[in-house]
Symmetry: C2
Subunit: 347 residues, 2 copies
Amino acid sequence: MKLKTSSPTISDVAKKAKVSIATVSRVINGKTPVVPETAERVHRAIKELQFVPRTAAQVLASRKTNTIGLILSEIGGAFFPHLLKGIEAETRTSGYELLIHSTQGAHDNQRKPLGEHNTDGLLVFTSSLSLDELGRLHDIQFPVVLMHQTPPREINVPVITIENKDGAVMLIDHLIEMHGRRQIVYMRGPEDHEDSEWRERGYREALEMHNIPINPNLIVTGGFDEEQSFAAMQKLIRDGIQFDAVFAGDDDAAIGAYRALKNAGRLIPDDVAVVGFDDVQFSRYLSPALTTVRAPIEEVGREAVRQLIRLLNGQQAQSLTLMRTEMIIRESCGCKFQEGTSLSKNI
Amino acid sequence: MKLKTSSPTISDVAKKAKVSIATVSRVINGKTPVVPETAERVHRAIKELQFVPRTAAQVLASRKTNTIGLILSEIGGAFFPHLLKGIEAETRTSGYELLIHSTQGAHDNQRKPLGEHNTDGLLVFTSSLSLDELGRLHDIQFPVVLMHQTPPREINVPVITIENKDGAVMLIDHLIEMHGRRQIVYMRGPEDHEDSEWRERGYREALEMHNIPINPNLIVTGGFDEEQSFAAMQKLIRDGIQFDAVFAGDDDAAIGAYRALKNAGRLIPDDVAVVGFDDVQFSRYLSPALTTVRAPIEEVGREAVRQLIRLLNGQQAQSLTLMRTEMIIRESCGCKFQEGTSLSKNI
DNA sequence: GCGCTTTCTGAAAGCGCTTACATAAGTATA
DNA sequence: TATACTTATGTAAGCGCTTTCAGAAAGCGC
């Protein structure tokens, strides 16, 4: 009866299988041919000893971490699970691990972020990484893929994002053409949020195409956040600004708008039509059900991983991938459906 | 002009600072005293070389990975972000990294799960880890904390879960006492789901306390899933089973119930009261707003990390932590609120 | 001034793997 | 049968750190 304090190492396996540790390594990694008979012995030894190779040792020796890092500013938010799901799935099927890091709240003092020292490549969502760091990674040619963020000119890094502008145009067109709205509020997202900027661009273009002048009073900041847009909408109402529709920037902001409008006794969509962006889970359950734009978030995640892996394999990656968006018409824009369908799936 | 192909190592720093690598290591880890002047030189060298220690080398040499693993069966689901947020935050503030692994879909062939080889300890959500593996980890005394799952007797591992039974009792009591309902359906979760079992126990106890016999016809399976509970509810209606209230098991199932009831022309809450469990984000936006039980998911995550870290530090951990639940009364039970408040926060 | 303790620093031995490189068979070629 | 390839395995040199151990330097009391 032998006592082993710590878990078995590769040499325990080698001893038991009567081979060298190199051979054990080879059967584990399966890259170099090993006589089936020998391999079988090794496998048995591994099984019996319940041997699992230390990741750190493998990483150190092979100089590849076999993991992908994901950096985002905040976990939570209605669309986060979708994104993560896509990323997770694609990462797994590609045989990589996933390390997640959120830069939420105050930037930690001493914590070193994800980078060359612990990942093979990085996925970065919106502007969760400083430009300095991004530049540094680019300088050392570390593989990075950006999601929903375009880097500065000099930093040439693949980007996956969605057709924000087209989505916004569809929405505004619909409000104008189908429902005759002309005084449409746009509630921006946070400062420097690229999605928000493109949506605003779409808003402006659509108005211009219909020869409707842009009224600066109708562009306010909702911060892609329920509370903030609630406040913004309240102020708009208090200030007596006239409007007959609201493009809320995203679905979270739409909820804030709903609350403010209902509190003020305005009927949605009769007095004011409201549209959102993202099609998060709850949108279809609002009453009235929210007209919005569906963004293929999960697919963004998958595609980002795919591109990153191309980079890891030394292949060329697509420098810009634009995912198509789709308008989801429900009731808040003024469209009518039969009674009871507001809760039905996907409508 | 010197070219360095790969990134600097600790000896580059040592050379530049004119100290030994041991000293560099010491100033990095800050555990052993170093003369301020020397430390300053080292810090400068680190800055200039942009040195970041390789995690793998540190892990290998120190035999601690400094990371915590999280295993769950599926990413996605309305309460996942909350859980992750709590875990993430607490992990960071404790100075650990977080590795996430979902066992969703078919169990991957060759992928080695999280374990001793790449983490210092594991967080396991519901039954996402096989009992075999759990037993093995327990045998080698590997730190593990379970969430929403009680292990078999012989495996003594800390558990964090919520007051499922109490929550259910509150709900059922409320339906009976405040709204006079007596024919209450319970829609179970998935097979072997511990949360579901406790909720059912609460359901039964509450009925018994009011001397209402349990009617087996009223206990059906909704699977904590919208589609499945939609189908189950439809069947119930088609079969002509009489009931005046539904305890949906969780909020996702409540949505399925809503749809089926509305399709059948039954009024909520007049004909049938509906209550859920979890208080996920969309619950308050349903119409009528859903009466449910709030589970402190984020806090479950935080607490799980705290307990795991106690284990990592060799301290005793709480073997069972039960988080209090709170009933959130809205409208779907039959309670009345003023017009327009259904969208207001937290009601 | 001399031994003693107390700090600080360096030398060097690993941590557990991967991977050239070397070697030993085995097979085909002439 | 000698020669040149193949192919399977072993040998050993790291990968880039942490940490033990020991020695040098500095402070202290007498």
